[in-house]
Subunit: 208 residues, 4 copies
DNA sequence: ACATAACCGAGACGGTACGTCCAGTCTTCCC
DNA sequence: GGGAAGACTGGACGTACCGTCTCGGTTATGT
């Protein structure tokens, strides 16, 4: 005699359009390329996506959240192919990261949302979840692979290993971002070699 | 009966108020602390400074330029006191830099203007002149002092020395910025010691 | 082999909920009292009535039609009890009309739908059928009763009688509406006596 | 040594555009004719007037106030030319009033603002000041002229005279409005003759 | 019994206007 | 000519409703 609420979704009413989300994110990236962060307007994004402004506001709280989601997916391209040595692996992933950061849609947007996030804790959390933490895995994978190869000794204790991973992540990501956006110089092969040498030398010295 | 143009500038008419500039910049910093970058409006700054909006636009092209000038002066606090060793010097300056970056007015403004500068070359130049290059001298000074102390060998050739200085600068500034704004973790004594060890180890390995 | 249309309505499928109609009209009157015409929204009416917006639009074309129906029923209260003389009959019905017009739901709605009806012929027709013509019968009844009493001579010709009835109707209804809504003065006993005297005096003079 | 604030206007700053007001009111009347009250939007009016929306909101609180001002001027056309007799004077002014009320911009707007005014006391006051009371003078002038001609006896006491004037005003204005907008019948010569006869007969009977 | 068809609630949809805010400019009078 | 005041055009904001639609699901009739 139970009440029949056997709907698969549970929620009544018209379901949200499945295609709209991706259309909006794609339109956002397109608008970022053309207009940059500060001239991007949600009305324009809605028009490009063929969607009403209300639909957009129903799904995202504002420009910041929308842009984080639109850009986040680009960073998922990052991989860590095995290039035979720790140095080569690092150089490869740093170059990949620099290439993503050099795209106009990320270049203009990433710093802007980080700037906003200094006064907006939920946004900071969203950035961390959507972008930052997803890439930290690369550091951990690289370390694990280097240990398997015997290039690095096994981590002495987990706590110290985590702190080192965080440090490497801040150094590597920070250096590439600073070089690209602040110094406005290219992250080319030579720079990457120099940076990698510095980083590996430092790691060896620190653990030796 | 001719008009005496004894004004020091030679320009006719009332000279610009000397005090207004500093009042505006101070009002800008105050507004940055209270409102953050994105909610700061020029009208509000003008009101706080007791100045007409016209005056403000006569002296700065827009929000970006104004904020760069308002924040730049804060970075002039950076010094490089002699602490006896290269490591101590680095730790000291990194901590100073982190302290400046932790202030609400810089935290909210710096990434924002950098973000804007990705699409605005004159702004990028202004940031470089007002903020970035003033820090870079610290790297050069530190290197020179370390050479005098014998901690580092003399630069083999100028070109390579400049590239290394740039690299160190991007790594150090980038790491601190990333740690502070993206990872949102404190730049405390331990982190600075770890970072300095990494950096010096890397430098030694690279030059050895 | 013909289809049996033994249903009372003839239409197959689930019949419309009988209770919904009255719930909606009651909710409309309630919303009119609270919000007035211009802030009344159909979504709000639907919510108050515990009904989906779809249901509402299935039965009424829009706000205007709904409000006409909601208010029309209030005018059915108007009666013409025999008070012994034409003057007393007129005074009675004018007071009744004024009382209905003083209710907040009619006050805010009636002029609004009349305003809309100036650009919407079907709405004008609906108002006439639902509201206006129901009042006009009172004029005709009053005249007939006065003739039976001998207070007025029999109508000389039907065409003239109809024109006079229309005139009386416009004068009486118009005066009460104008007094109530435009002059915003009360239609009290004294005003009604003065008005009735004017009207009856005019009628006597015109027919004499 | 007094502060010199010898500006003629007294207020500092750029003065309001003198031409904008009339352009906006004219655009409002034009839009009323084309769109009617309910489809008239302030954005559209601003565009027609060649003015920014903010300018419009700076000067009027909303649609209601704007429309009252736009329409009020039309009623100032009403005059009371001397046609030789009280009856002729009344017929003349009633026809004028009906003609104004038949214009699309008044027809659609007047009832709408009256409807709104039922829930908005300041608006009611504005209507009274801008439109209603300005026309009440016609009743008083007509009475005075009729007294000079000897058609009506001098008012016995001022209080009663004022009440009679109010009554006449409500009856006349109300009847014309009702005939035009509710009954939707033309106010033609015959109707006006009948109405005037009724009114004058009633007045004579009441004062006799 | 079971299909058919109109009903129902909920709520997302594209669209339009709202009234506000700010940018950057212009116009006035004053110093 | 600089400066304070404030009105100006223009454009985006985020919200509220409109009237439509698309779901899952209900309730009648008709075979």
């Amino acid at each position: 005699m139970q009440s029949r609420t056997s709907s698969p979704t549970g929620r009544p009413g018209r379901p949200r359009s499945a295609t709209a989300d991706e259309a909006i994110l794609e339109a956002t990236r397109e608008a970022l390329v053309e207009l940059g962060w500060s001239k991007l307007t949600l009305g324009d994004v809605a028009t490009r996506a063929g969607v009403a402004k209300t639909t957009l506001y129903r799904r995202w709280a504002g420009k910041n959240e929308l842009v984080v989601d639109a850009v986040a997916v680009l960073f998922d391209e990052l991989e860590l192919p095995d290039r035979g040595s720790l140095a080569a692996d690092i150089e490869g992933v740093v170059l990949q990261f620099a290439a993503i950061l050099d795209r106009p849609e990320t270049k203009t947007a990433l710093m802007a949302v980080v700037a906003e996030s200094t006064r907006d804790a939920p946004l900071r959390e969203r950035i961390r979840n959507s972008i930052v933490d997803r890439q930290k895995r690369l550091v951990l994978e690289g370390r694990a692979r280097a240990e398997r190869r015997g290039e690095l000794p096994a981590a002495p204790d987990p706590r110290s290993a985590a702190a080192t991973a965080d440090l490497i992540f801040d150094v590597a990501a920070g250096a590439v971002v600073h070089r690209t956006l602040v110094s406005a110089e290219p992250v080319d092969g030579e720079w990457v070699r120099r940076f990698t040498a510095l980083l590996l030398g430092g790691l060896a010295a620190a653990s030796g």
